[in-house]
């Protein structure tokens, strides 16, 4: 085992699955890199952030396909390839571009299994970058996982570390249903120990990254690291936090969330997507409905304001959840006292 970055972990998952299964192919803008541009520059990029670098060289042009900048065409082609026997991994680059191809995902790929009486398999993975913190402005910084979670028939994965990214991507590629795999663009250089071998982390099972008795924190993707850091700070103040990384928003491991809330009686949800109808509201509703009587304080959400993501660094920092905001929310829920109304 050796330390690998988030970028390397994803590259390794793709490489190992492509070696294991010849039906796995990659498609997307610049995944081969430089094709169509200057001579001798193929594989120079390996995707806009270098994630697929080296794969064109090993697997060639029949399995690593650069596409035109037409999301509707290549996501549609990938969905078609999936139902006819291949296992395409299509790279959407910034998830914000999904607006151009949502019909192919929402009305086609997600529904094939249901509309064809369970006879169609759609082993399609759509990889995309999400999230703010990169000064990439409003059209390149959204966290759209609630949008996909809303659509029945899609599986939605948000890895929180390099180890998680490799195991979850391998599961995504081996899955027979369409999977949206969302990578936080700020995390590509984060490193940790990742096994060299292949391994698959199952969907629908949350990971507890911290265990404590006082407050349950549910966080997604990049927010998991912030929640862990807040939990470490709070532990020094005598407040024990359980931090849940759901790993997948669809399927969602409701059972673990409800069990942990029942244990701690307090819940803080950290979600960097827009605050209306996001995962924080979904989980808050779940707990309010299923575990209301276990709550000792109101549920708190650490979420951005309901605005587009700002471009300016200062405003973008203000927009995002932070360790300090999580710490403040946990402290507030710990300090909550019921006051009797006269």
């Amino acid at each position: 085992m050796s330390k690998k970055s988030f970028r390397q972990a994803i590259n390794e998952a793709l490489r190992q699955e492509m070696r294991r299964d010849p039906t796995v192919i990659l498609m997307g803008e610049d995944v081969a890199g430089g094709r169509g541009g200057s001579a001798n520059t193929q594989d120079a990029w390996g995707g806009v952030l270098g994630v697929t670098k080296g794969l064109y060289e090993e697997f060639g042009e029949t399995r690593v396909l650069d596409t035109p900048i037409t999301e509707a065409s290549y996501i549609g082609a990938a969905a078609g390839a999936a139902v006819t026997g291949l296992r395409p991994v299509a790279e959407l680059m910034f998830v914000d571009f999904v607006g151009c191809c949502l019909d192919q995902i929402m009305n086609q790929a997600a529904k094939f299994r249901y509309m064809f009486g369970g006879k169609a398999r759609t082993p399609l993975v759509i990889r995309a970058m999400y999230g703010a913190g990169f000064n990439a402005a409003a059209q390149h910084s959204q966290a759209l996982y609630p949008l996909f979670t809303h659509i029945p028939g899609l599986k939605v994965v948000i890895p929180s570390s390099p180890y998680e990214a490799k195991g979850l991507l391998i599961s995504a590629i081996r899955d027979d249903d369409p999977v949206i795999f969302l990578e936080n663009k700020v995390m590509y250089d984060v490193e940790e120990e990742v096994p060299d071998e292949s391994y698959a982390i199952p969907f629908g099972e949350a990971n507890l990254t911290r265990e404590g008795d006082d407050v349950t924190i549910v966080a997604f993707g990049r927010m998991v690291g912030m929640a862990n850091e807040a939990a470490d700070r709070l532990a020094k103040k005598g407040i024990g936090c359980t931090v849940i990384d759901p790993r997948t928003t669809s399927p969602l491991d409701s059972e673990t969330i409800l069990e942990c809330v029942a244990d701690t009686g307090r819940l803080v949800i950290v979600d960097e997507s827009s605050p209306r109808c996001n995962m924080a509201t979904d989980i808050a509703a779940l707990v309010a409905e299923e575990a209301f009587d276990t709550l000792r304080a109101p549920i708190r959400r650490v979420v951005p304001p309901h605005t587009p993501v700002p471009f300016a660094t200062v405003l973008e920092t203000l927009y995002l959840p932070s360790v300090e905001k999580i710490e403040a929310a946990v402290t507030a829920t710990m300090n909550y006292r019921v006051t009797e109304k006269v």
Partner: protein, 380 residues
């Protein structure tokens, strides 16, 4: 630290931060700053954050320049009274840098030396954790079915005083390669012998737990010259019974909850089996090939739901010291299998302890082992 000179060092903004870049000084040398005043912007792989002055005083030096990348704890600036001479500050910086470099080297060296490493032993890639040094005969630790070298986490370092203690992941387990050959005790004993040869160890004490106990007995049978003593913890091979609910449940469980449930068979105090422990076990169980390897071992060693090897004759004929440790409430291999052994075998039956005494009653096990092999060292 010199009383009048305060070093400003690269801060650690988060647990994962190991280094940071000076994105831009906000205060020039010669400026009086107050505690909490913004001093310098520091960029990490995750964030750019403003570092506030931890003390009040006069900033005398920027030791690190804008754009410079430095490890956490490295000297980036100097605060000192105006009365402190420049030569004193220069001398302070020289001493600090030398001490910091030495401390970093020692820390890196210590970390590198006390980590498991991968070794190519014959056809097998084995994860091996080699600890300790000294004149004592080395001790080799062999874990049980489904385990790994971390099964010895409460014993390994404690026993590595005055001797090398080597733990490793058996093929098919932990971080080792997944080819288990025929999956038999004889196969694993042969791999153990290959590892000893690879490490240039001619004779070792052997401690084995459960399946590892059966492997230790098989090694004593096939290569007796290599075995200085046997410490057997709830070993396989002393009776036919085995709890196949544990074996099959462990093989099939692929979720935390399922693993947690079957791991509870291992201990008397069920509260010891936490979710994090189950998750740690799953990290290795989820590696491609691990489940198939475990299945093969189970089929080879426990055909028809019974232990296939009878190793009691090995104990009857052994001419090495043998000590046996067993938990009274073992739910995997019944403690009754410790009955009827030769009188030369020293028995330690631990009350209210399950199948893993080395974890559940680590101190008692360490004391027994230390007394057992420590005596051998004293009389050697």
């Amino acid at each position: 630290m010199t009383p009048d000179i305060t070093p400003i060092t690269m801060p650690k903004f988060g647990l994962a931060m190991t280094e940071g870049k000076i994105a831009g000084w906000l205060v020039e040398p010669g400026t009086e700053v107050t505690t909490g005043e913004e001093l310098v912007d520091i960029e990490t792989s995750k964030i750019t954050n403003t570092f506030e002055s931890p003390v009040a005083g006069l900033l005398r030096r920027h030791v690190a320049a804008n754009g410079e990348m430095l490890p956490v704890g490295a000297l980036i600036g100097i605060m000192a009274d105006a009365a402190v001479a420049d030569a004193d500050i220069d001398a302070f910086i020289t001493r600090f840098q030398a001490d910091f470099a030495a401390a970093s080297d020692a820390s890196e060296g210590a970390e590198a030396a006390d980590e498991p490493v991968m070794m190519q032993v014959g056809a097998h890639s084995l994860r091996v954790h080699d600890r300790g040094a000294g004149e004592g005969t080395p001790l080799v630790l062999i874990h049980g079915f489904g385990g790994d070298l971390k099964n010895w986490m409460l014993n390994h370092a404690a026993l590595a005083h005055g001797r090398r203690v080597i733990a490793f992941d058996l093929p098919g387990h932990g971080g080792s390669s997944k080819d288990v050959g025929p999956g038999t005790l004889a196969f694993f004993a042969d791999v153990t012998a290959q590892l000893l040869a690879h490490l240039d160890l001619s004779r070792v004490h052997v401690m084995g737990h459960s399946l590892g106990g059966g492997i230790a007995l098989t090694l004593a049978q096939t290569q007796p010259a290599k075995v200085a003593s046997l410490t057997l913890i709830a070993p396989a091979g002393l009776g036919p019974q085995i709890n196949m609910d544990f074996i099959n449940g462990f093989i099939e469980a692929d979720r935390v909850r399922g693993v947690q449930d079957v791991l509870k068979y291992l201990v008397h105090d069920k509260a010891l089996i936490g979710r994090r422990m189950a998750d740690d076990v799953l990290r290795y169980k989820r590696l491609d090939g691990a489940e198939a390897a475990l299945r093969k071992v189970a089929e080879a060693c426990f055909p028809g739901g019974k232990q296939g090897d009878d190793l009691r004759p090995v104990l009857a004929g052994a001419d090495v010291p043998v000590t046996l440790i067993w938990g009274q409430t073992d739910e995997i291999l019944p403690v009754a299998q410790a009955d009827g052994l030769p009188a030369s075998v020293t028995r330690h039956i631990l009350p209210a302890i399950g199948h893993m005494p080395q974890l559940e009653s680590a101190t008692a096990v360490n004391d027994v082992v230390e007394a057992f092999i420590g005596h051998e060292v004293a009389t050697a």
